[in-house]
């Protein structure tokens, strides 16, 4: 399954200084474009958020980088090489709902699945793999649950297990699809702490996120997406009300309980303050 654009770019090193470099990517389902002509650059070592309204193509972007959906056009480079050659360097945390949690398997087993890529075909996981998986479970605070069947976990615990599975992959670029969706505040803090620690170890992280208020607290790089790229860059520059409004259109006030007029039309950068103070978060009080 070698694609035309990979044929052309085979072996060619392109933009090696970027963790992720996407050129002219268009993805469509049944001729309806979900991603329109995406140009995206993610430098190494950042903790980047991808935000945008429902149907903006956030998950599709992640899947395109992983080669799980076939683009209609465009190139994706990971650390300078075509993405399909680099899949082993990418760690992936899918949305929790993509798997069957009644599957007869244990927490430890799911985490070890992250190591299957390194093992290759047929070779079985052994003692070393178990130890790595336990280490990862330790990191996400789930070691005590290692022999549980996975349906016995809460949503937040399931998310942590997925995170541990990505950790053992020991990837350089991590793609996380809504890791904080539907988890309690404690788990969310735990997860973001881990993501920041990964960043401090030089990893690059691209996180599909849904909560605009926590953006400045959690991330240092921001991609605003709505079928096309609205804005991208260091969070401090991109996180403006004008940009957000352009991304979400009129939904923004409704979505996040902010008065539609906050900041006034065309305000340059007062967004952050306004956004941060809007509506205290459930877990915020102690």
């Amino acid at each position: 399954m070698v694609d035309r654009w990979d044929e052309r770019a085979k072996g060619a090193v392109h933009e090696p200084s970027l963790a992720l470099h996407i050129e002219d990517l268009t993805v469509s389902y049944d001729h309806r474009p979900v991603l329109w002509d995406i140009d995206l650059d993610i430098p190494p070592g950042v903790l980047a958020a991808v935000v945008g309204p429902n149907g903006a193509g956030k998950s599709t972007l992640v899947k395109a980088v992983l080669g799980m959906v076939k683009p209609a056009a465009g190139h994706v480079y990971v650390f300078g090489r075509p993405h399909l050659q680099q899949l082993r360097r990418i760690g992936y945390v899918p949305q929790r709902t993509t798997v069957d949690w009644d599957f007869p398997t244990t927490v430890l087993d799911v985490v070890m699945m992250g190591l299957y890529g390194q093992l290759g075909w047929i070779r079985r996981p052994g003692r070393a793999e178990r130890r790595k998986a336990m280490d990862a479970l330790e990191q996400v605070g789930m070691a005590a649950f290692c022999h549980r069947q996975i349906s016995q976990l809460s949503g937040g615990q399931q998310q942590r297990v997925f995170l541990a599975r990505a950790l053992v992959q020991d990837a350089e670029l991590y793609l996380l699809d809504e890791p904080m969706a539907g988890v309690d505040a404690t788990t969310e803090r735990h997860i973001i702490g881990l993501l920041k620690e990964l960043r401090s170890r030089g990893k690059t992280l691209l996180v599909v996120h849904h909560d605009l208020q926590t953006l400045p607290e959690y991330f240092d790089w921001l991609v605003l997406l709505n079928v096309r790229i609205v804005a991208q860059g260091p969070l401090k520059q991109v996180y403006t009300l004008a940009n957000l409004r352009q991304t979400y259109g009129s939904q923004i006030g409704l979505l996040h309980g902010m008065p539609a007029g906050t900041g006034g039309p065309g305000a340059e950068s007062p967004g952050s303050a306004a956004l941060e103070t809007a509506a205290p978060r459930a877990g915020g009080r102690r």
Binding site: M68, T105, V110, M113, Y116, R124
Partner: protein, 379 residues
């Protein structure tokens, strides 16, 4: 000694039945978990098209090419069904239901037109007849070995090897196909490999147990094993064990009541499934019922703790935190209120003085209530 084995029809029937059962159930585990077990139904019908086409081409009914043709027809069924499903114009079940009757009908048409001399007996197709399997033998060395035993032996070995060798890959591809792809495995290839073997096994099992019973043997043992365990490898091995037991038990029952051997094997499998359904340790109906009752009881105790906690220290405490008040305020019948209070006292979460009247939270009870109300305090 070997001669005694091959000449013993009882052992022969049981061994062939066991081979079919084990071969079917190790593949079935993954089909069941993937939610595509009904492909077995489709395949076991459409393999007939492959068998007929190979017969028309070679004039032989029992050649190894038959297996190849049948497997190709089985894969074609799956491929066409997946193609129709991916068009998004039809749901998978409808697509499967469209494809296999068409292929089956085509096979019947071809038989009617060109192969009238070949007798296809509806009973044999649906139920098979294990008793005849003994009569058709091939010479191996000095022994006359039933042909079914040889083919099923090879097929079962291939199935077990495939599942054993690619256990890790099959597990990942079934649980999370997306990750399997991202890690460089080929989930689609594995899936087609699985269904290829299912097709081959269906043909091999055809003589012995027929199409419908084959479906039962693919689905029922792993489904029963799934109710009994939370580990995939146990589910695969347990499914095989259940199939083994069912073939022995089924044979015995068939002799006892003088009925179809294959049919009785399926019945025993069904009984095991039924038992697992009701009595399974975690997923069984009974266990679920008991767990539900326990959880309700725990929830009631927690409700009581929270009620006491919210009113603790305010001026209404006198009124609210009396055992009697529970009936009015929480609308608990007297009997239930008494039971919940007794339970909370037994757990050391609540004390009452005088006996059964004014209720107080203990330290542990207060802690438990706060844990409910302020979940973020939990680590």
């Amino acid at each position: 000694m070997l001669a005694a084995f091959f000449d013993n029809p009882e052992l022969m029937f049981m061994t062939i039945g066991a081979l079919v059962g084990v071969a079917a159930s190790v593949l079935g585990a993954f089909l069941v978990l993937r939610g595509t077990s009904l492909y077995t139904d489709a395949i076991s019908h459409s393999v007939l098209l492959g068998i007929v086409l190979v017969y028309l081409a070679t004039g032989e009914v029992n050649s190894p090419y038959q297996l190849v043709g049948a497997a190709a027809a089985g894969l074609l069924t799956v491929y066409l069904s997946e193609l129709l499903t991916s068009s998004r114009l039809l749901k998978r079940d409808a697509a499967v239901g469209l494809v296999f009757p068409a292929l089956f009908a085509l096979a019947m048409l071809l038989i009617g037109l060109y192969a009238r001399r070949v007798h296809i007996d509806a009973d044999a197709v649906l139920l098979g007849e294990l008793a005849f399997a003994w009569l058709d033998t091939v010479p191996i060395g000095e022994y006359a070995v039933p042909r079914s035993l040889v083919t099923m032996g090879i097929i079962a070995l291939a199935d077990v090897l495939f599942v054993g060798l690619f256990f890790k890959e099959l597990k990942l591809a079934t649980f999370d196909a997306g990750l399997a792809r991202a890690l460089g495995f080929r989930p689609r290839l594995l899936f087609y490999g699985l269904l290829f073997l299912t097709s081959v096994t269906a043909v091999g099992a055809f003589d012995a147990v027929g199409a419908v019973l084959f479906i039962a043997l693919v689905i029922v043992p792993p489904a029963a094993a799934h109710l009994l365990t939370d580990r995939l490898w146990l589910m695969v091995i347990g499914g095989g064990a259940i199939a083994l037991f069912a073939s022995a038990g089924g044979y015995w029952a068939a002799m006892r009541w003088d009925v179809s051997i294959g049919g009785m094997m399926a019945v025993v499998n069904g009984l095991i499934l039924l038992a697992a359904f009701f009595l399974g340790p975690r997923h069984g109906l009974l266990a679920r019922l008991l767990r539900g009752r326990r959880q309700r009881a725990e929830a009631h105790v927690r409700m009581l703790l929270v009620h006491l906690y919210t009113h603790e220290g305010d001026e209404q405490a006198e009124r609210e935190n009396a055992a009697l008040a529970l009936e009015h305020h929480l609308r608990w019948p007297a009997e239930q209120a008494r039971r919940v209070v007794a339970q909370a006292e037994a757990l050391g979460l609540v004390t009452s003085e005088p006996e059964g009247q004014r209720l107080h939270l203990t330290g542990a009870g207060r802690e438990a209530a706060r844990e409910v109300l302020e979940p973020w305090r939990r680590r």
